[in-house]
Amino acid sequence: MSILGNRVLRKEDPKFLTTGGTYVDDLPLEGAAHVVYVRSPMAHARIRSIDTSEAVSAPGVVAVYTGDDVDLEPMPPGAPFANPAMVRPWLAKGVVRFVGDMVAAVVAETREQAVDASELVFVDYEPLAVVIDPEAAVDNETFVHEEAGTNVVFRIPEDFVSVGMAPPEAATEPPGLFEGCDVVVRQRIVNQRVAPCPLEVRAAASLWEGDHLTHWTTTQAPHAVRGSLAQTFGVGEEQVRAIAPDVGGGFGAKIGGYPEELLVPWIARRLDRPARWVETRSESMLSLGHGRAQIQHAELGGTRDGRLIAYKLGVIQDSGAYPGFGAFLPTMTQMMLTGVYDITKVFFTDISVATNTNPTVAYRGAGRPEATAAIERMVDIFAAEIGMDPAEVRRKNMVGNDRFPFTTPTGTTYDVGNYEATLDRVLEAAGYAELRAEQRRRRGAGGPKQLGIGLSSYVEITNGIPGSEFGSVEVLADGRARVRTGTSPHGQGHVTAWSQLVADQLGIAIEDVEVLHGDTDLVPRGVGTFGSKSLQSGGVAVFQAAEQVVDKARKLAADLLEANPNDIELDKTNRRFHVAGTPSASKTWVELAQASGDEGLSAEVDFAAPGPTFPFGSHLVVAEVDTETGGVVLERIVAVDDAGRLINPLIAEGQVHGGLAQGAAQALMEEMCYDDQGNPVTANLADYEFVSAAELPSFETYSMETPTPINPLGAKGIGESGTIGSTPAVQNAVCDALLALGVRHVDMPTSPIRVWRAIEAAKGKK
């Protein structure tokens, strides 16, 4: 019987539960100097002078470096098509551009000495005007990068048309976009900046042995780190070993390329001794990339009987001071613009801008949650406008099952879906009719505690950046199997899931499969773990490698047993190959591995999926809103998710749970705030509203499994769906509770003060 699809307990857990994981900061590194960065307290300022003399002579200090010391080319913008003048120096040169920008590196014998000495670096700043509000940044006369002469990183569609990425007719809004609409609703929506907050902050440690570098780092993509290091230091990739040991969460923010991490080997080389760095949480809040940060202007039009016809979304994307992947997020928003709906006329624009804030990066969902949040909010506003049940409007406009593969007006081709079934299922599981009845009852009674019911139906893109992923399987002389994978798990349970895939193919025990990952010397190639890509790329590679190993073993067994390979069967129960009908003539994995000689019994696969996959689902949230205080209590979160075939439902469910919590957290509580001078006001975990167990209910989750034809496992990604679906469901629930009070929209986070103000404002209007 296959073990695929079983709730296998994780092999990873015993270590974490008994000795704890081995994270970068847990690794001993004999003789390492400690690095602490001095960061700018100003959002935008010219550096008049830096006085390091006191720091240099402080106890234990080995060296202090400033921007002029670093003999490396500045880092180019991390976003394709970005304004090339928006480069990032390794340490600030002449100007600081956000609170947290690095000004100097202090290196000392101990961490404490480095911290103490960092306070003795005196920087004379001349304050400059700041650009904080992304909308104002577009036409501002103050530039984050003077050399660029603009704050605009790029514009969609114009800049994409000019490089040939979009056809010329895409450059302008189609005439008569909203023609034929009885109703057009408009809303400005803020998809606020949030801090990803993996529980482990960033850390790096570097050791040069001659021209060979070993670099340990908290990353989701060690092979990419190897590439960056080789390039930065002008050495061959074979001279660099990048290691991601246990990594305490990433959520997109640890995909990598931060100067903090890449400077550590520069310092180690310069000092000719190992060096290490670990940030504090307060530093991490300032300088680990932030997520989301879009302002959206949405318009949705349709008929009075609920048919959606046209949709327009204009995005302003805050990219922060040094545009990286954050600037690029709107392209993902554009891809997923119309969500699960068949809306034929659309227009999308984006202006990605630089501001004097921390750069934005990918964060769980990366551009897709922003698309879903916009359309799902707009569908509710539209439903309210025409007086139709929001579930009904959704149902009327969903792409039907007979339409797949379905190409959207922004050119995205959805593989396969069953959208309406997820809606039906979530409504039934939640008891929708009864919930609406209870809501009516409370509205009628007019008490302070009103009920809100929020829906969201989503489809999202996973494995969205095409490419291949590496996987290999080798049967060892003792009959156990060794897997090497290019994915780089940091909580996703690949060791267990990949073991299942191999154990299932080979007919060996899960315990007898070893999985190597996160070390570029042990795994020759790899892409890493992000974008919900791992199972459908790396998992498939491992699966196919296992199939090939079985084939090889079958041929070898045939040779040894002097039979035709077609007559050889793998008896998974007894873990041996035998001639069909003659179980006694058999060879075990051990015998075959030993007989395979120098060639060994192994296979390598680089699996490139023919396309991305599109998980989907519907979420329903029940929230109780206290209309006197603005307080919101999440009573229920019901989620139906379809990520194709599940290999380990226990792990998949865990991914959904984490996603639901992060989505609810954004909708309800979390926001990374700057004041108008660019001072962060939520720059530690006491001020930032990181969601805890106390604000969440237990989740009611259901899975559907519609296999995708895109890969042989039929699997899609599940890492980000929970966040994508739950964010608008929570926001819609809060808004729904207030609908009868005349409130049409509350931006996220729907904190008590925002909710209360919205209620008061609506009272004023009445």
């Binding site: 959520f251 909580g491 990181f690």
Partner: protein, 157 residues
Amino acid sequence: MRVKLEVNGVTHEREVEPRTLLVYFLREELGLTGTNVGCDTTSCGACTVLMDGESVKSCTVLAAQADGRSITTIEGLAEGEELHPMQRAFREHHGLQCGYCTPGMVMAAVSLVTESPDLDETHVREGLEGNLCRCTGYHNIVAAVLDAARSSREGAW
């Protein structure tokens, strides 16, 4: 200054700087890196250990304050190969993903259940408010703690 304390049943005597935090004493002096640091504002609970059986955030206790006390960290929870019921429950309920919050979360949960074995879901959620997890959404952690509490009431602890 000199401190003498018992950690996971072993007595250690060491010279420390007065400002040394217990968590760094454990991690750097004793090499017990299971206890993690996740913040600098006493907010996350990744550093939670037991001091004389009660949970404390070891980033907010000086090594000097632990003088003469008995400390239990995640490394000292299992009896040899035999996992503590709380550790077992976390595994069975998939109460961990990246594992970073886990040692602190497990220690906080042990203390919570020891104090009030009769707790319900709300009590667990409120009791663990000071222990943050970014990966699990808490659902499976809560289930694990409730299950372990059940086993403790049945006398399995």
